[in-house]
Symmetry: C2
Subunit: 218 residues, 2 copies
DNA sequence: CCTACCGATCGGTAGG
DNA sequence: CCTACCGATCGGTAGG
């Protein structure tokens, strides 16, 4: 699935700030973000990176493998960043605030990566799909762990932990659909406000009998 | 943009429960939902509806026009349903609860429509895009109005109305990404829980000084 | 509603 | 990293 090269040149030549593979990944992520994976063509990617199409295949196995590599790296990086920021935070409320803020702020430098990680899963099949789904589940588990701890300690009052996790992740994952740099709020402000929204929902005073009682048939 | 026929046959023939146009729209929505708009081919749609590709063009102007028709109808129907259910509810908390429940329950019969209304906007350009964006904005305005009223009456404690609206809409709009019929919870239970999540976030006790104070740099 | 067919474009390969 | 090229498939049209 991945391209391994014999790294002969890694002693010298700090010139290219990105390896050729990485540059292609980055340009491809932007292209997939802008056009969608299906609508994006390798011809256009070739132009962006200054190569003919066949030359791209020296750096990838297929279009699908390229997408898979981008998504796996993005999700791994996000999970790592989350673990790092959560390492020295112990109160569940603080942990959730940090988790949401970190997820949101991840979009500062990785908007395209984060967006297609969410959108283009459907274009993957087989092992590629499994690899991305596994990483998605890892991310969800991180949030689920926080919700579980908060519920056990009594800090969170959620009637259903699974739905709470999905709701919080929905708010984070949808950010690329509406956030654009240069808007009314910067990303740090958005991160604070969304963290506050999530924590408020999780910690709101609730009558214990909410569950099971159907309120309104609407 | 729309196909108008001289409705000569509407007096007789109650036989076809769906008009040919509508049947094509419905099959197309399912196909676009399953494969994505770009990856879905008119060949496959033709097979699903029992027609050769050229015959489809007796019922549509283009693939893009077909998608536009599906999205506009779905968003109009959702907005109509929301307005109907909200007509006799006046308390902002109740209105928000009904709005979220109605949005969620709309997925019961229109999962594919709702999903692609959210996902496939990017495949549209020009007037088609504007027409869908206008309807999206109408939907957002419905929720924004409820948030505004609740904030003014003091029922809601949100530090930023715009972000609150986006967060609530995110939770609703992402439902097709994870909800599958036959799961642990039925849609009515999910609707109750998500409405509770949203209302809890909007009404949570908050110190007035939250805004502007940056808590953690994380 | 069909047969027959179009130009364009796609991801990918051969061979160097 | 390139030129040259492949078969497949695409949305869509002509003409009936």
């Amino acid at each position: 699935m991945s391209k391994k090269m014999t790294d002969q040149q890694d002693a010298a030549a700090p010139q290219p700030p990105l390896s050729r593979e990485r540059e292609i990944e980055q340009r491809a992520a932007e292209l997939f973000y802008r056009r969608g994976y299906d609508a994006a063509s390798l011809r256009e990617l070739g132009k962006l990176v200054g190569m003919e199409v066949p030359s791209l295949y020296n750096h990838m196995d297929s279009k699908q493998e390229l997408l898979t590599r981008i998504l796996c790296r993005a999700l791994d990086d996000l999970a790592d960043t989350l673990r790092t920021h959560l390492a020295d935070v112990f109160d569940p409320v603080d942990r959730m605030r940090v988790a949401v803020r970190t997820y949101v702020l991840f979009h500062e430098e990785r908007l395209a990566d984060a967006s297609i990680s969410d959108t283009e899963l459907r274009s993957l099949t087989g092992e590629s799909r499994s690899a991305v789904l596994k990483r998605r589940a890892t991310l969800a588990d991180l949030f689920a762990g926080i919700v579980r701890d908060g519920a056990r300690s009594g800090a969170f009052t959620v009637p259903d932990e699974g739905i709470a996790v999905l709701a919080v992740l929905s708010v984070c994952a949808r950010l690329p659909m509406w956030y654009r740099p240069g808007g009314r709020l910067n990303l740090d402000q958005v991160a604070d406000l969304l963290a506050d929204f999530a924590v408020s929902a999780l910690t709101a005073p609730r009558t214990a009998a909410l569950n099971g009682t159907r309120k309104k048939r609407s």
